[in-house]
Symmetry: C3
């Protein structure tokens, strides 16, 4: 049993895999932060979607007026969904890329650009910064994921 555990620990000791683990955890934590920002705006803007969430404001019409959409809440939610759409491919393709034996330097470059791009994308979306800030940061993360997918298919292709 301890031999198996050692084998698993070897995986996490590999530098490329450790870099993948680090940057994946960072971008997933960043994505999770969007939930807290949504909750913050829902509470400060008093804009809820579920009747049971407004029960503490009283009953009837008094509570009902807080069941509404708010532009700031919707903006954070769009940023959150965009994270899901882009971080899920990174999660899967990045793992396979890390296992495909890339150079450490190249792998770090991919992971760092992706994490930087998604953090920039969040600031560009939430502030918001004028376009093409958000568009370019989105495209950078997208391009890096395509590049990793190319390496995976070149190394592992088995149809």
């Amino acid at each position: 049993r301890s031999g198996e555990m050692a084998k698993l620990t070897q995986l996490i000791d590999n530098e490329v895999f450790r870099a993948y683990a680090t940057y994946t955890t960072i971008v997933l934590l960043k994505m999770m932060l969007m939930s807290l920002i949504t909750a913050y705006f829902r509470i400060t803007r008093k804009a809820f979607v579920n009747p049971e969430d407004t029960a503490s404001f009283g009953k009837g019409e008094n509570a009902k007026k807080y069941l509404r959409t708010d532009p700031d809440v919707e903006r954070v939610r769009r940023g959150h969904l965009n994270d899901l759409e882009n971080i899920v491919p990174f999660l899967g393709i990045g793992l396979l890329y890390a296992l495909s034996g890339p150079e450490l330097y190249t792998a770090l470059l991919h992971f760092r650009i992706f994490a930087g791009a998604r953090i920039t994308h969040t600031f560009a979306y939430l502030i918001p910064l004028p376009q093409p800030s958000r568009g370019l940061s989105w495209a950078a993360g997208y391009a890096v994921t395509i590049s990793m997918a190319y390496k995976v298919l070149k190394t592992a292709l088995y149809l």
Copy 2:
């Protein structure tokens, strides 16, 4: 070749990894169940979004009236999206955590609380239970994921 397969099988023989595989499969199946519940409410409430889905009700105005939103359908869809937002981080961070060599007891505690929290969250959302039931079950799953992320970064950090 059979040597390689044995190596892979060793991974799935590790108890922490088997626990991760079990609880991940359970929460993903639970998330998939949301699709069936959405379909059930769409059909029983006759509330569709795509014109081609109402073609069996006839043509013109007769079918068009079923292109509408329904509060129950929207509620299930919000629960489904909340699953995606929270189970995707668990999928990624949980895998890295399982590979970071945690104690079996601690790992089981994390996985069980997460799975329990997400199942409770679903009941709290769909019944719905009065708040803070949904909020607390969401927070329990969130906190467990943060705890696993901390362990991953402590073990593997490579920036």
Copy 3:
């Protein structure tokens, strides 16, 4: 260090794992394509959601009229969300399945049906094809994922 890398490379050398890597990359790339199709329809239909995205059309009312929803844009977005809801379970359950030691033939059958089903689903949603095309392609991908989940739980169950 090169010993560790070799160990990782062995994982990607396993035929079942290579097949998983190939089909996962294909379906994730397909999902990423939905972002480009959404952008294409937003630009050609001039239907945007963020005020900063319409700044190039001028100021005030002239730009504001492009902040609107468009049926084609919404259709692609629904297809994209359906991808997320179905490809995330495949990503997680498929990985665990690939590590659970299935026969290569059986594994390939699962992966090929899933990828084929999701590609068919996209065409059925975007053209759109009359029902039950979209429903059946969705169900095929769903059933394959359930079948893999069963194998994972049978091999690895540890509660």
